[in-house]
C-alpha cells in the first residue's frame, strides 16, 4: 500500500540545513493498522506529511497504492489526497464556519460528485460515527470527541484507501480517546489501512505493528498479538519491513 525507499527530507534556511528524514525506508501493507512513534523532533510528522502528499521530499522513492508519487504535479497530488487518502488531525481541523454536514462535504466537493451521491456519503459517514442527528451543528457547538468524530466522518466519506492520523486522541480525555480508538479499529477491521502517529505508548501497544522513527530513520517492530488485549483478531501478521 505504502512503500518508501531511502526517502530524505531536508529543511533549509539561509544558515542551517536540517535533515528531518535520513534515507527512511518502510512499507505498510494494505489493511494494516500501524503506529508511528518516536520522540519529539524525530521526524514522524514529517514522515506523515510526506506520506500524505502534503509535503514533497528531496530524495528516495515513494510508492503509494502502486503508483510512484515523486514528481507529480500539484493537481495530481491533490487528486490522490482527495481520492485515496483520509486525514485525522490532533486538533480536528474542522472549518469553523461550516456546519457538520458541510464539513464532511468538503472533500466530496473537490471530487466533483453529484449532489445525491454526496448527500448519501455524508449521511452514511455521520451515521457510522453516531452523529447523524447533528448535521446542522457548528463545530463550536460540539464537544472535542464529537468534533473528532466529525473529522473521522469527513475522512471516511471519501472511502479512502489509507487513513493518516496524527495524534488523533491528543486533545481528548481518556474516555473520548478510547471511543475514538475503538472507532479507528473498527474502520481498520473494515479494510482501511491506517497509519497513526502517537506519543502514547499505551495506544501504540494496541496496534499490531509499530514503526519507530528516531533521527529521521525508521525501525520497525511488533508487540505481538498477545500484547493487545482488545485488539481485533483478524489483524494481518506483523513483520519487520525495513530498517536503515
Amino acid at each position: 500500500m505504502l512503500k518508501m525507499e531511502g526517502v530524505q527530507k531536508i529543511y533549509r534556511t539561509d544558515l542551517v540545513q536540517t535533515h528531518a528524514l535520513r534515507s527512511l525506508s518502510l512499507e505498510v501493507e494494505e489493511g494494516e493498522f500501524v503506529a508511528v512513534t518516536g520522540p519529539s523532533g524525530s521526524g514522524k510528522t514529517t514522515f506523515l506529511n510526506i506520506a500524505g502528499l502534503l509535503e514533497t521530499f528531496d530524495g528516495g522513492r515513494y510508492t503509494l497504492d502502486g503508483k510512484d508519487v515523486s514528481g507529480l504535479s500539484d493537481r495530481e497530488r491533490s487528486k490522490i489526497r482527495n481520492v485515496k487518502i483520509g486525514f485525522i488531525f490532533q486538533s480536528f481541523n474542522l472549518i469553523p464556519d461550516l456546519n457538520v454536514y458541510d464539513n464532511v462535504d468538503v472533500p466530496l466537493r473537490y471530487r466533483g460528485l453529484g449532489g445525491g451521491d454526496r448527500d448519501k456519503r455524508i449521511k452514511d459517514a455521520l451515521e457510522r460515527v453516531g452523529l447523524a442527528s447533528r448535521l446542522k451543528h457548528l463545530p463550536s457547538q460540539l464537544s472535542g470527541g464529537q468534533q473528532q468524530r466529525v473529522a473521522i466522518a469527513r475522512a471516511l466519506a471519501g472511502s479512502p484507501r489509507i487513513l493518516f492520523a496524527d495524534e488523533p486522541t491528543g486533545n481528548l480525555d481518556s474516555l473520548m480517546a478510547r471511543e475514538v480508538m475503538n472507532m479507528l479499529e473498527e474502520i481498520n477491521v473494515q479494510g482501511t489501512t491506517i497509519v497513526m502517529v502517537t506519543h502514547d505508548p499505551e495506544l501504540a501497544r494496541r496496534m499490531h505493528r509499530n514503526i519507530h522513527i528516531m533521527d529521521g530513520q525508521a525501525s520497525d517492530f511488533d508487540h505481538g498479538s498477545d500484547s493487545r488485549s482488545d485488539a481485533p483478531v483478524d489483524r494481518i501478521a506483523p513483520r519487520i519491513v525495513a530498517s536503515v
Partner: protein, 440 residues
Amino acid sequence: MFGYYLRLGLRQLRRSPVLTSLVILTLAVGVAASMSTLTVLYMMSADPIPQKSDRLLTVTLDNAPADSDSKPEDIPRGLSWLDVKALREGGKGLRRSGMYGTGGIVEPQKSGVKNFVAQGIAVDRDFFAMMDVDFKFGSAWRKEDDRDEARVVVISRAMSQKLYGDESPLGRTIKFNNGEFRIVGVLGQWHMLPRFYLMENGRRSGGSTMSDEEEIFLPLSTAIATEQDINGNVNCQSDAAPGYKGLVVSECTFMHYWVELASASDRSDYREYLHAYVGQQKARGRLPRPDQTGLYNVRDWLSFIGVVDDDTRLQTWLAFGFLSVCLVNTIGLLLAKFTSRSGEIGVRRALGASRAQIFAQYLLEAAVLGLVGSVLGVVLAYGMLHIMATQSPDLAALAKMDSLMLLTTVLLSVAAAVLAGLLPTWRATQVVPALQLKSQ
C-alpha cells in the same frame, strides 16, 4: 464548483465583518469617484443622435480675404449667410438647414406672467426632421412658410406649459421681439445633449452652457427678414457694412449649416459638391484662399470643437488614480482577510483541493466583495453626481448615470476587486498545508 464557491464567498461576507466592511467601503469609494467623473466624460462625449450621426454633416469654409494671415486652425466654425443661403438653395442632400442662435423678449398675453427673455433659434423646416424632434402639439411649419418668411413659431414644451398650461396653444399668437408669431407646434420630449448643432469651442454658440435649451424656434428666412438678434459668435475677417443688413451681405460668419445625407456613403459625393461650390464662388471672386473646406459628421464635429475639455479629462485621470490607491489598500485588506484563513486553506488542501481550486474559490470571493462594493459604489456615485450637478447647469445636464454607466460601475467594481484579489489569492495558494494543520 462555481455555485459552491459562490456560496462560500457569500458566507464569508459575514466573517470578520470589520475587515469585510473596510474592503467593500474602500472599493465603493474608489469606484464611485472614478465612475462619477467617467459619467460626466461619457455624457459629454456621447453621440447625441447615434441613429444618424454619420449622416448629419456640417460645413466650414475658409472665407478669409486673400491677404489674411490666418492659419488653417483659424478657419471659422460658422458660415456666412451668403454661403448658407447658397447651400440651402443648392438643394443637395436629403434635408438641410441653416441656423443661428437668437433670443428676445416674450410678452405673454396672460395675466400674472411678466415679460421674459427667451432663448431661440432660427432654423429651416427640415431641422425638425433632421434632429428627430417630436411634437406634443402640431408639427413643424410648412415648406412654403420658409419661402414666404411666414410669422410662425414652434415653442418648447416648457414655454407652452408656462404660458398656456395643459391647453394646446396651436393657432395662438405669441409676441416675440415686438413681432407677432402664430404657434404651429409644441415640442414633445425631445432632448438633445450636447446641443451640437450650434456648438463652438465646447459651448453653445452665444450660450453659456452646452445644455442651454431653445424655447422658441422660428423660420430662418423669417428671422433674417425681421432682423432677429444674433445670439452667438459673429466672426468678421473683412469689413462689413454697419447694421443687420450689412451683416447678412458680408463674409461675417454667424450661422451653422447642417445637411442630412440619405447614406453615410454619400459623404464623398457631398464633398465633391462642396469643392464644386467653392470653385464656383472663386469664379465669382469670393473665397480667394486655397480650398480648405471642412466637412464633419456629428462625432467628428464634437471632437473638432473639443466638447470634452482638458479639465474633465484630467479629473477623470485623477479619479482613476484615486481608484488605484483604493485598490492598493484593498490588496492589503484582502491579504489580511485571506491570511487569517490560512488554517482553512491548509485543511482544504489536505482534503484534496488543488492550488487552482483554492485560487478559483478565493478569487470568486474577491469578486463577491466587488459585487457588494458595486452596490454601495452606485449609491455613492449617485450622491457624488448629485453634488456635481449643483455646481453648474452644464454639470447638472451631464451628471446623469444611464443604464450603461450603471452596468459599467458594477463591472468596474467586480473587475477592481478581482484585480486587487489576484495577489492575496495567489498568496493563499502558497499556504503550506502541513504547517497550518499542525499549528491549528
